[in-house]
Symmetry: D4
Subunit: 221 residues, 8 copies
């Protein structure tokens, strides 16, 4: 996959899943070379932070792949004869929640990662704390999940509130949604790290992929 | 009141209440001099951030004063023949809420300020979001208040949640309660400034006095 | 209003005013769907942070709406047969002040919010502390207001100075006006939080909507 | 448990474990009152951030309790006739790792929490990246764990390195160990949030309790 | 003056005044050695940030010296036969202003530096913006000064306000007075750097010496 | 000058110079209106932060004005019959120094302000500390100046070094030149505030205007 | 080289290498003038941070120069008859390592600087800690180097890990690669400064040039 | 060396020097156990950040050891029959420079580390930029050194200035000396990272050990 790339080919043996491609700043050619190498090894592929032009280029090569423009992800099953496509009988169950509609891209990146890992996803959108009855209505679904992912920007209060209602682990993803003293997600990040609910773990700002991967690892155990 | 002090004697005419004494770093003598000047003008006194030794000294001079050790405040009515002691028929009604028991000193400073202003106070303690049914039980009292003050540290999520339930203005006071990435109240402050509830205004970290004063000004209008 | 949106339809009952639409990052179609839902419920609408193109699109659907390009707001009365258009007999009175002319967009967002809430507004512009006689001339108007909103960037000193002159609550809005160590409004925000005037509450940087909403809630009580 | 405390008595039903007592700033009497209430309800108790004097006071009342001075924790089984003492047949298995010996208090707080939850713990100390062969020797133990907790200060690199070797989720706990630009744990926190290993979630600085609780929730599922 | 010290003996020729001794962390012996060297050269001495014990030690050696405990300074005239003691016919005139009484130590350090430089000082205390008529009363004195030094903590608004009233240069000194988001003087510092008054220059937090030195250099030109 | 502008027409009486127009974000029309008002009052004009298009527009109206594209300034003398054009017999003398060539725009803004104030300017460019003999060669010119302005980015060390060589006041202007941990001028700003040379005062990042104005006020006394 | 530039012509005598041109913000003409002056002095040239257009312009003048578009550098040997072109028999040996492929531009800037200094370079790419066997494979090459440069973004853990394996000095270069709480390289920078490996020195974010220069100075001693 | 310690016994083979003991927070017993283990292996010992009481305890056990109270270090040669005591014929030469006398503890920690490594040290104290002739006098010694270490607090300008005068690598150590906006060494750190002198590498604040170790590794090559 190119002279400058040292693809981590042992990742699947060591960690259970092949290396995921971080698309930011990679040329379509560089991405295509990595995917070809993974297909040859019988592995499925996931590309994150892909831009629309690169996705369009790849679509020509792999028409069966799935491009989610909101999530900025691109997903491809393992080739026939290789490992079976795991999405067919998903294991476990993860709820992916947003506080507001603008948190959707981050939540979708998490959801796509879970689908790639073969884990079932329930999406619950726009239930932030300013309108509290909206969360109340979705509590049964939240209590059913093995893991809950909560994406929120601004003050990032929703993971704490959800964490107070469920026994499962909550993966909090701060988003860069907001303005002024939201500082591109830092305020939400700090709030989540200081959550008074004991079951809340945190990942980086806008790190939908990481939230999804962690939730998938936990839910599929 | 001493050569280095320019007491703002016009404050009561301009703003409705006499100057409040910030006790931090003032000697008992300096405080006593200011109080004597206010008594002479027929004005009640409020000292904040007073340390126990200074309060004990003042108690000898003014045995009828009220020292609240948790709030670190010291309060004295106007002298006989001057303005009547306003606490007797309190106006308006302010709910003073804490997220946890360690937020109590800040809440008490707010409550003492309100009492000094002649405003009725309802105290509601330890109803943070990790145990959500505790807030639910106190909602009727919260909805009855003219203004709600919410003191919270750590992630500071409670003002947003309260703000989603009431129509009245919410004065959020971040407290320096917490550790690690709570940064002495900065995380709570930032969270409150980014509240997705539209009725939330913010004051400085640990600024119980300011929250109380603002709530008093609004509730007594 | 679309699968990803959970409109907070109970907001008017709970808080007195319907949900305001945060226009940033929403498509004209998404905004139009929310407005149609509100019109159906007999509610007036306010959209903030709307971009000119989205406003132009909405103008075709609702020619009677009011678009304020400086404020980046779009306002629509409730439909005939629904709730009456409250702007006709405004209640209370709020002064909206700027330190410099570049603070105008934030002040206008506050003013538009107040008009939407049916509260009377007095605009006082460009009276920052570098030219102190300008404030002196406007003091009578400031002292007449039920609430004063002060928008200021750079060092954000004006709310403290105004707060020293009036008895009413002052809502301080830091603006992102300035350069260098103004840090996009952070310096003004910090200054306002540390105001030595006791009647100053603070909202987020550039949060004209929130300042207006809070002032409106207080002034119309 | 005292007028200022609203004990979250519904916590065990909602979340599986009773409320844990945050000892910082609480008097021995306040802590004793909470523990008495929990014993009455047939619940085990865990107190964190307890100071030695308070622990000594409690030892008189409950001689069978377990005080870990390094961890600053105090643990008490449920009373006879109530829930059985769960530590006897621990479920799951969590490895608790430190980078250096000064990270031990944080790791011990996590370990004590796990013991209180009835989860088996493997302790692996002082295997930071400056001496890489030390980690290599412990890899089999790390690969056996259901969850790995890694406590590290300074640059906080160890969770990433461990995360690259195991398939299980890694809970990273930044510690305030270090000097200069370690900023009391902020550098380690930021490093962990940016971990290039996908299976790393983060909790607050020095938050041994939270790391232990989360690991326990995951390992005992 | 000791093997570890390289006293800058050429300072008076190069800059007009001898090196000033920064007392923080120096032993009384180390300070005494420097002063003896300066006396030998016929130079006056100024020590800043001196602690009371060191000052008491030096008083025994130099009973004619002047120790200002509030300012934490110690001042000694040049010896007989050396340079004349310049304080006798002070040149120029500097107003040293505080916003509140707690800013006094910083202002006194500035004033002592000016006396050491032979510059006349007018002290104006406690005229912060919350009580605006206090500044109005002192305007004639402020307009008479060659330079105005303004020491203020909290939001640090006073230098801007003074700067709007006078034509002379204003040296703003942020002080570490305040709490919460005053961040030990950072908020005041930032506010002063962003002053909308064009004649405001800034020095470090609590840098009374530097403000005094700069004002002295300008006023005595 | 327009309904939103409150021109500070008393500035010349109070401070010696008319109000300077901050061009950032003002339309050419708004600027032209202010200039017309100043010309009518017989005052000279200075516009800072003007963009090239606005300057071109103004050139049509006032062909005798001086536009400095590097400085982003636009300068106009007072009209005939009004105050005389002060540049003809400049008073005092200010050295304007840069550390590197990229600091030039800030230095030029300072120089233009000085010319507008009628003060003589000596420009000394690109003498940063990495090539120390360059400063040594210019020392005589530096020692001749009444005030020295030093503009520097990156580590901002030059003002301290210059301050160690001259007796005059040094106005340090941090510039936003640099990358990485220069943080847009914050590193240079902090370095200058902590200068170990006692004669260094600081203004905001990139604040060439303010440095020039202050130097002009001092040099023309 | 132009009136605003004071080229440091004594640099080669003082430091062993001529001044390197920082291309950012310089016009092609300004760069060409400096290069002509260096050629005249018989010196080789290195330009960093050059943009493609400027490089294309220079290519016309000096067709034998070497432009590295990834590194954003442009390199020219000394002219015939002047100093010999040192690259021909490189001294010492430096390994230039990246954690990920996106760190390549920074690593290439370091490598080009080393080539210009006549030092031999070994490039080792994409061996970050998430795939640990990749580093293990390259250890012999790393142990052979006189100096190791490690460029890494995100959590910046690789220099510590490499430092634990080699005896040579490690120059760590944080890169601005990452998102969210990587803060444009600040997280990597802080991590590297706190490295628990004793042989790790740090340079500015993205400062490939400086890393290369330092490594070259050390390796060629 | 105790159950919680994993001494890095392979360090000497891998890196050339045995593990150095970080004394902060270790009991005298823990330190003594590590030293005994090293003596048994025939290795010399260095303890940093040791407190006076622990050093006194160790003095009883090892009367021939060297305790430097300013540096807070404790040094012991290898036992007879083991490796020879390397200080006897020191290799290379490192200049250790301070800007002011308060930087001495950091410089001494560096110097002690170099002595332990068998490298010759030249100490040059108190030559900061405010008194520039002091540096000029020491230039020959600085130019003779293989490596120069410069410890400086406040604005941290000295490493840049020294770097402009010498060809050797400069290791800059920011110290926590200063007040106000020096932020415990952060300002000096940032300044050093942005040094315009190309030969300046940086280590953590107050990291005298690391500066010494790096300089020793380079000088003894
Ligand atoms: N400019 C604004 N600033 C902050 N909050 C706003 C603003 N405009 C609307 N809102 C609030 O944002 C919420 C709607 O967000 P969303 O669901 O993303 O449309 C409503 O609860 C409003 O009260
Ligand atoms: N470049 C500048 N930096 C800082 N302040 C400036 C600058 N140019 C003009 N000013 C000041 O900004 C004020 C005008 O602001 P405005 O009312 O927004 O035009 C005047 O009082 C000037 O003294
Ligand atoms: N990429 C770079 N990063 C930091 N410093 C550089 C870089 N390239 C060149 N320099 C230094 O910048 C100085 C030239 O700056 P200038 O006078 O602005 O061209 C020289 O002293 C070089 O050593
Ligand atoms: N003052 C110091 N600053 C930074 N690292 C040090 C210091 N002293 C010793 N070390 C390193 O700290 C490690 C020992 O840490 P520990 O295992 O906690 O004793 C060794 O790898 C040393 O290289
Ligand atoms: Mg919504
Ligand atoms: Mg509680
Ligand atoms: Mg104006
Ligand atoms: Mg160790
Ligand atoms: Mg006062
Ligand atoms: Mg240059
Ligand atoms: Mg890779
Ligand atoms: Mg000295």
């Amino acid at each position: 996959a190119g002279g400058d790339v040292s693809l981590d080919t042992a990742r699947r043996d060591r960690c259970g899943y092949p290396e995921v491609v971080y698309g930011e700043g990679k040329t379509p050619d560089a991405i295509a070379a990595i995917i070809a190498a993974q297909q040859e090894r019988g592995e499925p592929s996931l590309v994150t932070r892909i831009d629309p032009a690169a996705a369009a280029d790849l679509e020509v090569l792999y028409p069966l792949a799935c491009h989610n423009a909101t999530a900025r992800t691109w997903r491809l099953a393992a080739p026939v004869g290789g490992a079976a496509c795991e999405q067919e009988a998903p294991q476990g169950s993860v709820a992916v929640v947003t506080a507001g509609t603008t948190d959707l891209p981050v939540a979708e990146e998490a959801a796509e990662t879970l689908v790639w890992m073969g884990v079932a996803v329930t999406r619950i959108n726009d239930i932030g704390v300013a309108g509290p009855q909206r969360l109340a209505e979705r509590l049964p679904e939240l209590r059913d999940a093995d893991v809950v992912i909560v994406a929120a920007g601004m003050e990032g209060a929703l993971p704490s509130v959800v964490g107070g209602h469920v026994a499962a682990p909550v993966i909090a993803v701060p988003t860069s949604v907001g303005y002024g003293a939201s500082f591109g997600g830092v305020t939400a990040l700090l709030g989540m790290l200081n959550s008074c609910s004991s079951n809340v773990a945190v990942v980086n700002i806008d790190a939908g992929f990481k939230a999804g991967y962690l939730a998938g690892v936990i839910a599929s155990r």
